[in-house]
Symmetry: D4
Subunit: 248 residues, 8 copies
């Protein structure tokens, strides 16, 4: 339930248009619904402006299905990240409009329309192998109601590939830069644009990459200003933050 | 030179109001000025919307003075971070309106007026010992033209201290959260507000803190959404990013 | 053999009620039984108040079966942790009342009654994925004779879910808090209750989580007092310590 | 203000024995007092059973003095850890009964009497160099109203030194074991007693000790049960937890 | 070829008892034999007193077979470590007396008799799971001509199990102690005996064990003297060194 | 397109020997070709003297095939590293002269002749298990037009094996040294030759090797001069750099 | 003694132009001179083409003076790195033409002329604070007889500063790139030039820089080819390698 | 008290040659003497063959003096490591024959004669800067009654310096090899001799040396057999172990 919906409900009660039973039904789970294994945070949208998102890693197929079953009854748009195809198949049985994005490993269910701002979010990758993380960011941003500009494989080993895309990127309101290995691209982009840059280190690489550590440390110590960092491979976090900024 | 100033100059040349000599003088250093030890990036404001900032650590007093001397001739507002009192004293001899902020270890020089948005930036700390980093963020945000709300010492060991300040914090457009030790405060704040949170880990702590590593890793793996992270003790980076977002 | 049983045996010998052969049989393995691959510590209960527990990881199915076979002859309650289903099936062939707890990966065999204190142990998790570790703690506490209150999925991203459960938690004598990712929940709980908190970091997470390191460091550097920490994913250790404190 | 004091105050108001002004004075700071740089958590004793403790590292002499000045007005016993002699001298000017414990680096001020349980806390060190951390634990336990048994320099290189002291240690209700280098002592003690062991790794050592890391990892992976761990050099945390358990 | 064999050959040449062709055949590969993928160090026994040992990890089955084929022609005893059953099966086809030790993952081939000293090597483990590494050490020591005393599962959680075995251990000339988790056993043993202790950390454990790091650091920082350390899980290295010392 | 080819094209246009259409066709992709998932850097040879190389790890079979399909149309020699047999089979269907080097995990396609310098590159390994990385370096050097001297299994445990090969190695113009475990061989070689040494740490080893970290740190801190280092297992990088130096 | 000098000496002996005494004097220390604390490697120039260099860190002033005293008698050019002013003053007393380079912390003594190649070495830094390391590289390259092009402060936050200098850099035969923080500059340069790039990470930065680790890992995992890496702050190593390549 | 002395005392009591008082005086402190801050392990020589050694780091001057004062009364030879000059001066006041070894940072007091074996211990260093650690090993070995051969500065950058000394080294019974930076020397020596090698990593180096980590990991992963390792900079531990082996 978001701010508007809650206000409408209160008004309905005040005006007598909403019956006690109806009001009770809608309000009793305002805080959270306890499924035993999980407590679904129904109140989150009121607090943070965004519905709860399901992080599927470490959950069983049944737990994911349970949670989605419950959320469907609330009419929210639903995003499940780090989802497997098995989870998608289980969800499909209870909701036929569920979509699976295999590259991004996400399930999305669109139930209500969201206002989409005019401005876009740019999602830029250094290499081809960074695309899955970028797609997680892109799907996240789109499901929360944003236009996305995808610019892939423009890393620093051939930096001229970035320059051709720079005017389009500069037109966006916020920029997500996804890179593995040495993770240098956010520094370059941060030095060329006047928009917030959200850097996503990926675990792409080997050896001294140490599963994304090289890219992570590189981005944190970036000599460019206006760059902040999320966890290794955290496309969702970057897409979420970009959406927040794009909608301010 | 920012976007507006450059456009005015081009117009002046087109209209014949600006002489060739004058135009040359103004344009020849558009890209950068080479001081030998440093190449001052005069072009940065055009590219990124912000003038170059001097990171003083690792520079000599003379180098800092040289760079500021040059920048003064451009009429920019100046921010120098990680500055010592010695540097300030040297700068004072060439610019009497320079101010020193000992807690934040910054020198500021205000030469031109900047438009300040209506919305504020909240700067929140977990403890008293985190204040110097928070002040670096606050001074940075202020010198770039932002209103700042300071909320200090509201860490998770007594989380009720945060709740009292929550309405004010929620009114801000972007929130900087500064915390050392386990660095849990950004997760809490991120779960309670609908605004972007910029998390700053500090090196406050001992033992398994490993000079800020515990806070850094904690913030990167935050289970709250809408949280991005900057380098350990990087108050400047957080203040800069917050300003960027606040001015979008 | 525990304190009481040993005293009774000595009395029996003194009074002549226990024959030499009988006494010899009971006392010869008082110290430990040597199975070649393992030396079972029969003396542990006398020393520490708790019978030996079998940590199955790195042991073969046959070794686990051997050890349990021997322990059965002593009449003790038996707890085997990190057990596989294969181990359980082998144990089943020699002891039909063995129970397997798949989520907790433990085998339990109850042979003698234990006094259960009035007070309870609260076992709290931050997320759904932390439940297996929490269950290991819960089963451990229960097999050693304690009442357990389970409170799952009340992590800091939606901290209001914790507040609803706080009165019940405060009624417990000791609190186990299980959390992965940034591991912030023990700090929060520690700041809200006047009972000892045992923090269990889990390896749930990815990237900068580094297999539980972020949660571990966070808990060790907690700014709340009254929090101590066990190894990553060590539900058993937390349940054991909680039982010790609950029974003081 | 602790539970009893609050109940007495409420009763006084109900019975009319406490005037409005008096009640207001006592209640207005119930939550916290805001000194600007610090928010003193007056409510902590109600919540956790213990008054706030001042962690002096990273605070200025004036900040420490300010905080103590305020706390003195509440009549609480006061404990300040990681204090310098300078801080003590400043505190002395406002409170003559303040005591300094140079080895433990703590300042204590006793203002009200606390009930001391019959049972003791054992504080055991592996070496002579671990004594400062052990003393921080001991002073903490004593200021919170506990009897302390000190057993120093009984580390594993000459383990017979421990055995002589074992009966006394076993008589205590909870045991703090402080060790640097390989940190093996808590494992040994944990295998010999039936009481909770709180392990404190110290930064004593060099080379592969990595500032206490070897002891910390050793204690976390202890093969003995009933051992939990606090941060490197965190004598305070261990003394606090031991007090909590001793007073259950 | 060892010292004695070389001297005999030289004498044979001097006395004319060995023909030129025979001498040439025996001497041409004195230094090393080049198999392309490997250069077998035939000279090692002359230099170090021990024949070359085959470390099989990272080698193909064919490479291992090739190397052994060549070594067989020299009449040496052969030891291959980290061997798989597949490798053993391949070796079996060219040498029927090859033996496989599955626990120790080693292949041994005994071709010539070695003098065995009167004194023994003790090989002690903390737990049951450490036995495979201990067996690698034991097989190594035995193949090089040493008597071995195996003492398994006497770790510090029940240290009395060690004391019963102490007299036998003290009778050995050198002691190998194998332990995972916190790796405390070598410190204990080192403090109780007057013989060199070779400590072998194992990767047994989980969480903060970090694949043997906790045991490794613990052993390196041991407060007992007379303890040196080999690589994690390096049973071979310990058995080799113990043999060297036992044969001095 | 390399320097010469571009100059010839420009001359052709100037002389009217190349038609507009032809010129357009050749120049339109001069910068890069956008395949959506990848942007092929056609311009790289002009800039760096070497055509783009395909790093296959993290790419799908189809992506690799797409990229090679496109590059074939340019007539370049092609090198794909970290390739699987599946990738090779897919490439085979579009280019029959593709070769697979299973040890080196590379695919090569030779389309045009390259000038080969007189001088050679030595590629030296410490052990047999380091050969795959060495082969990646060798194939890389060969495909870029260099003669290679392979010297395998001459590590420091039997350093005399190196001395026999030293004259040949000294005759080369640049030396690649590949070593795992402690990675000492580059230091030895660097102290014996007057040629640049490129050190490649490998992940061969176990325990304190930490996946190549021991070799990497050892090589970086080498006390011999004239040694530079590439990433762990980066045979390609070493072969590429060696080629660059050999062709200067 | 270098190759030419040795050949001349042998010729002199053969022709009888050099007396026995003279020859003995020159040859007796050909291998090394033993000063007790140090063994000066007189043979190094013959082996590696370069005279021994004195790494002063960890040596006493007297040891440095002793070593230089001895080397002076050989007529070599001398380079001492990581030298203090005290060392320089001591050296000055025995050799008046010694020069001190305070920024580079090196002492140089030029005694014989070296052939200088036509081609230059470019030494490029990301920031002003990286200059000391760059100067160590530059002085090293110069003392070994190379022309050096210095290009300072052209890091990626304002990458246009690099483009202006690119033609000059491309004219050099080998390029040293010195950078701290995220260390991204070598990747950029490596993608733009067709010359070998030697990357030098510096310890400039703070927090997640971890004393140069971020720059080191970034450079090792560079996605640009033709980049090799030396130790953190190892300007000498880079200058030495660059000289080797420049003189091939 | 060592084995012989104890036997003589027992005999004296049996024969009536030792009075009750005398026997009591000698036996009452047989186990340990409690100085409060320290428990001196008088029993150690009986157990381990060596008297207790004082590790001075982390102890106050007074504590060191107290301990030595007590030990003097027992007539033992005394070794204090990591001692400062201040400690020496304090000790001097109570024992004029105390000697200080500033390079090795040790105090030695010789009170009784020890049998010295015929065989020697070789102590070899890679560089000049490793000498202090080597001297700690040498002094330790000497005070425990061993002959020492010192061979300094023969590291792998000029490995021919080692070969000249090899025959002498091979004559020793055990070899201590001390090296910093990449720590390669023990591998080389281990491959050339048939004696046990004890490797001591030192913290000499910078950057990727990480305070001795590179040398430590290198030595642990040595491809040579017969090499064991002690802690970084632990000259004492190496000298102690070498003495143990030399005296077997």
């Amino acid at each position: 339930m978001n701010h508007e919906e809650l206000k409408k409900l209160i008004l309905g009660i005040q005006k007598g248009e909403t019956s006690t039973d109806e009001a009770f039904e809608k309000l009793r789970d305002l805080s959270f619904t306890d499924l035993g294994h999980s407590k679904i945070d129904n109140h989150r949208e009121l607090r943070t402006g965004y519905p709860e998102v399901i992080f599927c890693a470490g959950k069983t197929v049944d737990q994911v299905k349970d949670i989605i079953q419950h959320m469907l009854s609330k009419g929210e748009n639903i995003l499940a990240t780090r989802a497997t195809e098995d989870m998608y198949n289980a969800v499909k049985t209870i909701c036929s409009e569920a979509e699976f994005h295999p590259l991004a490993r996400t399930i999305t269910i669109k139930r209500k329309k969201i206002k989409v701002p005019e401005t876009s979010i740019a999602i830029v990758t250094a290499g081809t192998s960074d695309i899955p993380v970028a797609e997680e960011a892109a799907i996240t941003a789109e499901v929360f109601g944003n236009k996305v500009l995808r610019v892939f494989d423009v890393g620093v080993a051939g930096i001229h590939r970035l320059y051709g895309k720079l005017p389009e990127i500069r037109n966006c309101r916020v920029i997500v830069v996804v890179a593995g290995m040495e993770g240098a691209l956010p520094s370059i982009v941060g030095g060329l644009v006047d928009k917030p840059v959200i850097a996503v280190p990926t675990s792409i690489g080997y050896g001294a990459n140490f599963h994304g550590l090289s890219a992570l440390l590189g981005m944190l110590t970036s000599c460019a200003s206006g760059v902040t960092v999320v966890n290794i491979d955290n496309g969702f976090g970057a897409g979420y933050m970009a959406s927040m900024i794009n909608k301010l």
